[in-house]
Homo-oligomer: 475 residues x 2
């Protein structure tokens, strides 16, 4: 891009969004050009911060005219570099951060309509203010934006009960690559009038358009809840317990997370102030949350009845139910302490695999066998959302042995291949909730069916023939 | 089509599926060429009944080569003529009726994998056999096929709790218009690896491909249930009651149906053996079902507490809870007697409108005002799924006044326009659950956003450039 073209382009952007909302200063651009884990870094002509859907549309059209790519960015909390530009291409980062309006709250329809730049936590709070629950729950909820959550089909810890983002979105407003505004902000629960574009935009990671607004489902607020930590003798027992509790308690189960003993120990070793809620060692632990909108629901009684039978069946060996908010928080602190503990333990790589729930034990056992046989110095830990079949295999490489980056990269590629191949052979997914972005494109090409890849390419070419929307991502 | 081309085409089909599965005899073809309500009638070269996905693919390729259209047909229970050929085009009807295999049942993963031709009732039974629930519930469940349910995104009476078909499908296998087999039979609950074709096929009514197999979600089986008939003074009160019960009882509410007094009377007048469950007249009635997987759930107590408060607030005037299965069945017989009662009362036309749940009272009041003012001899009745915002406005035209078909057609068009315009002005849909098919194409073109129609046409052209899949339907 010549200097004069560049300046005229930037002037055009300034006309649209105001000069102060076209950031070109290197220091101010910095936080938008590197991801939060500092694994991806890109370049951009500017960070552009529109305030309205109309401004987004005008910016996209200006980029079209100037042949500049558009990289939509929400809270920049992604795991796969999807919101960071690729170096090769003249791009802008289109930040939705100024679009934070709550457009409508309709408790009788159980919906909320919001700008894409609203923080997830902000939406949770507004919902709570009208005695409703917006159930999506993520570690990054204080900084991630709802538009990014939708564009990446975010998961989190409440998927078992409430589904992924895809299940929580009723309507979407988006600016298509053509610069046209798609008004799909429906608040309807039923609408059978033709093909569904909404579900193409969910999970498309900004490659098919810029999401500018969404209608989300709200739910009754839980008025009873219970947290329990349960020791189980094996991953098979954890699965049997899940099956039993689902049959007994149904949708009261909002979280059913599992953790291997070595991960459990790793977290507690690094947080000496955190009490160990259960004595003794158990090969696996289950983190359980039950909730109910009924204030008088006797969750304790329901759980105790189920657990008593589970003890007799030998699928549970010990359990503690929190009797105070502090106890409950301490249990969940163990679950949330995983990322930090792994970083302390060595060079950690977390996989994001999904397999059918019934295949989780097979998956875990085969990964265990294969990694310990082929890479004896690599330790493997497990944590995940058993109810979704989404298990994070955490491979930790000792820093001393893997100081050489080439040695690390080569071994990592082999470890990744082991995990991906076992997952795929079980009908699994190489990316359950984190998406594709930059980091998983090659793995996607290797593991996705050719017909599916063809379809994705055709659809991308149809909606974005000049490939200006987030190029180099997903496909 | 020349006779020799026709014969060589039919021979090719016979090679693929066997001669006995290419039906050309007029009498045998008849039930496939007219819809169950006898409103649509079409012609076809043959009814073709493949037994496997491979055979479906071969049939589609043979049709490609011969330039013959493919009209997929399941149980032929649709409301909009979507599975009946258009006269103008040389077509075959591709019946999935021979594809009835249950491919896999996985209670630990809560999934069932089935051929597209399986009956809905068959799937419900297999699920019950492994102590699970497949929750889709429709009047036609004994004859409709699951492939058709998916292709039309079926609704029914349990949507409030379990969602529409779209929400119940994890994976789809389909033969695309190219004759390629799309293997999307995933049993995963989470998979963020690219754009989602599944949701394009759901609700596409056979215009983007032939669905040959599906993976469906299963749920815990209810072990407690309760049916109640509740008298409410107005549609506003019905909405207030829904809101209160959702807050108190949450997902225990599986059905929340409403009916106007005139419809209630109409049903009971035609079935003198059916006891009137509540004395006196109430402007509106609510049909409520609560269920719970917990065998010891005290649903009665929960409902009584809520209803006591609702009485005090004046939103409920009377209620009866069934104390026996017979009582419960008698209550639901009133709800299920609507179609028959309407047919007896005159020339009945049922609309399939959805609006935001919060807008239902506004919708009903405006339709009432407008129709009674402009068409005083047309009676309007209401029945519907309030929890989904899906109200069926039933307009009944006296047979004597509307014996002239032209007079009827002209008045009907005006009544339709009134209902559609009020719905659209409230952000509603002209087809909540019945789809588009042949009958609603013109209304779709009038009420859908031009950008959405453009997108639909582009997508159709991309996947089906020669327009052989169910032409003349939807778009």
């Amino acid at each position: 891009v010549s200097a004069s073209d560049r300046n005229s382009f930037l002037s055009r952007l300034a006309e649209i969004v105001g000069a102060r909302n076209v950031v070109v200063n290197a220091a101010d651009m910095e936080p938008f050009l590197v991801d939060w884990r500092k694994r991806y870094r890109g370049k951009a002509l500017a960070i552009v911060q529109p305030a309205t859907t109309q401004e987004v549309a005008s910016v996209v059209r200006a980029c079209h005219a100037a042949e500049v790519s558009v990289v939509p960015q929400g809270g920049n909390t992604g795991m796969c570099g999807g919101a960071i530009p690729n170096d090769a291409i003249p791009s802008i980062v289109l930040s939705l951060s100024r679009m934070k309006r709550i457009r409508d709250v309709d408790p009788l329809n159980d919906t909320i309509t919001v700008d894409a730049g609203c923080l997830l936590a902000q939406i949770q709070q507004v919902a709570a203010g009208v005695d409703r629950l917006f159930p999506m729950s993520l570690g990054s909820e204080g900084s991630c934006q709802i538009g990014g959550n939708v564009a990446t089909n975010a998961g989190g810890t409440a998927v078992l009960r409430y589904g992924t983002m895809r299940d929580l979105v009723l309507g979407i407003e988006a600016v298509l690559p053509s610069g046209e505004i798609w008004n799909g902000l429906t608040r309807l629960r039923k609408d059978n009038t033709g093909y569904d574009l909404r579900h193409l935009l969910v999970g498309s990671e900004g490659t098919l358009g810029v999401i500018t607004g969404v209608v989300l489902k709200l739910f009754p607020r839980p008025k009873s809840s219970l947290t329990s930590l349960i020791a189980v003798p094996s991953i098979e027992a954890a699965l049997a317990l899940l099956t039993k509790l689902r049959a007994d308690c149904g949708e009261r189960i909002t979280m059913f997370e599992v953790m291997s003993l070595n991960e459990f120990d790793l977290v507690l070793a690094g947080q000496p102030d955190l009490p160990r809620p259960l004595g003794g060692d158990s090969p696996w632990y289950v983190f359980l949350e039950l909730t109910d909108p009924l204030a008088t629901a006797n969750l304790n009684e329901a759980l105790e009845t189920s657990l008593a039978a589970a003890f007799e069946d030998g699928i549970v060996t010990d359990a503690v139910t929190a009797t105070s908010l502090t106890q409950a928080e301490n249990i969940w602190r163990i679950r949330h302490g995983v990322t930090e503990a792994n970083m302390r333990a060595g060079i950690s790589v977390s996989h994001d695999t999904a397999v059918p729930v019934s295949s989780v034990p097979d998956f875990v056992n085969r990964v265990d066998d294969e990694i310990s046989r082929r890479f004896p110095d690599v330790s493997v830990y497990y944590v995940g959302h058993l109810g979704d079949g989404n298990i994070h295999v955490v491979a930790i490489f000792p820093r001393d042995d893997y100081a050489d980056p080439d040695h690390f990269a080569a071994t990592l590629a082999e470890v990744n291949a082991v995990v991906d191949e076992i997952a795929t052979s079980l009908g699994g997914s190489i990316s359950a909730e984190h998406g594709i972005g930059q980091s998983n494109r090659r793995r996607l090409a290797a593991f996705k069916e050719p017909l599916a890849l063809d379809f994705m390419r055709s659809l991308k070419a149809m909606l974005d023939p000049t490939n200006i929307m987030n190029p180099g991502k997903v496909i």
